[in-house]
Symmetry: none
Subunit: 256 residues, 2 copies
């Protein structure tokens, strides 16, 4: 059986919904659940009651403080959202996304793909979406497209379950073979971005403090969306070190 | 617009589940609901509360005393069941069933296909299944295949919807119009890369001259592949200017 994607619930509100998500996941053979800041704490009795037996999924769920931490070891992350986003990112229908996950999981020993789901009321924040390689869209009646959380999880997981390898991968831009061609885990990209942000801060790049979060999010969105390979992240880090090294030599007073 | 199948809930127990079924139906553009002997009577406040706005589906639902009456005007009926039945009847997977419904609906003015769903606890009786042309099976994790009622309705209706290209993939999450979201012309990326190469040259980044062409090609590949927008190219240029500006102030002797 091919590897299932990791399901990541970001700031879910109701324990009952988390339990129903676990049930929907297990219905489709998807077992790895990660939860970012569940509103009502964890473990949660309502979740257990609603899981209808999918207790192992809940018991093995991992908790995270931030979405970035929850996706740090993943190479390919989809953000489930129906809303317009002011970000340029590929949009995959659920079945296309499922084929992409299948393709990227080939020959892996551990899951390297994840699907993000936002809180019940508001959906994912732009900062969460910025961490993703692509947007997963479930095509529904445009006049009535609001799904509850567990049903969104069900349709995404069912699409994965229905998919097999008969179909060619959706991605035209699949990386080349070889270790260096493996996509970088999100955490490696995050590390690079932290260094970049520090350097930009020191260089006075953020002239307008109120705009800093938006500018940072755009930068983050670009690099996460770009799905760099490990080698590319190393090159980007090398570029930064090279430019920073020059500065360090000459502007040591800037270093604290 | 192709006709959607009729959804027939046979002896549903909880009003809440009926409401969630109505919501799942409307999510998929399925609007005709028939209900056989709802346990808690009709209309039902719990159903309305759980429908999350799919009120028209509930208001226009028709009530029946028997399953036979509920399917009397239909030509093709599917019985949703996961259990083995001691009956000889074709078994269709959800996607096959959906194609069958599409095919049989061609050129009809009124719905002639229906899908039966049984009570929450027990599922359809053999007498109900006997009324069907075929069995609809939703392929799930064989070790954990019990769906709640609304989720079974959702998967059956979604399978039908997926056969249909009525709803194009979310124009929703496509990038917004406007200059900032437009992908940068290759020439703009090239200009940025020329500046980057110059800066890297000056920073001593290319320590091994023979490897320089390969490294440069990898960098170029990353940025071209990433399909940055015009705004992102401007941001990348701004990053470079910020880092270079620091250097210029202190290392003017490097500038030729």
């Amino acid at each position: 059986m091919p590897l299932a994607p990791v399901v990541i619930l970001v700031r879910p509100q109701l324990g009952e919904n988390i339990g129903m998500c676990a049930r929907a996941m297990l219905n489709c053979g998807v077992t790895e659940l990660r939860i970012v800041q569940p509103r009502d704490g964890w473990p949660n009795d309502d979740a257990i009651a609603a899981a209808s037996g999918a207790i192992d999924v809940l018991n093995s769920a991992k908790l995270y403080e931030t979405t970035a931490e929850a996706v740090a070891d993943l190479e390919y992350v989809l953000a489930t959202t129906a809303r317009m986003r002011d970000m340029v990112k590929p949009v995959l229908k659920a079945d296309e996304a499922a084929r992409e996950v299948h393709h990227r999981h080939d020959d892996r020993a551990t899951p390297n793909c994840g699907i993000l789901f936002g809180p019940e009321r508001s959906g994912l924040e732009n900062e969460d979406v910025a961490l993703a390689n692509a947007i997963l869209n479930i095509p529904l009646n445009p006049g009535f497209s609001s799904l509850n959380l567990a049903q969104a999880v069900l349709l995404a997981c069912y699409s994965w379950l229905c998919c097999d390898n008969r179909f060619p991968p959706a991605a035209a831009a699949a990386p080349e073979e070889g270790d260096n061609a493996a996509l970088a885990p999100r955490g490696e990209i995050e590390t690079f971005l932290q260094f970049l942000e520090n350097d930009l801060e020191q260089a006075g790049f953020f002239r307008s403090p109120p705009q800093k979060p938006t500018i940072l999010r755009n930068i983050r969105n670009f690099f996460f969306r770009s799905s760099p390979t490990m080698q590319e992240v190393r090159t980007l880090q090398g570029i930064l070190v090279a430019l920073r090294g020059k500065k360090r030599g000459s502007k040591a007073e800037n270093q604290s």
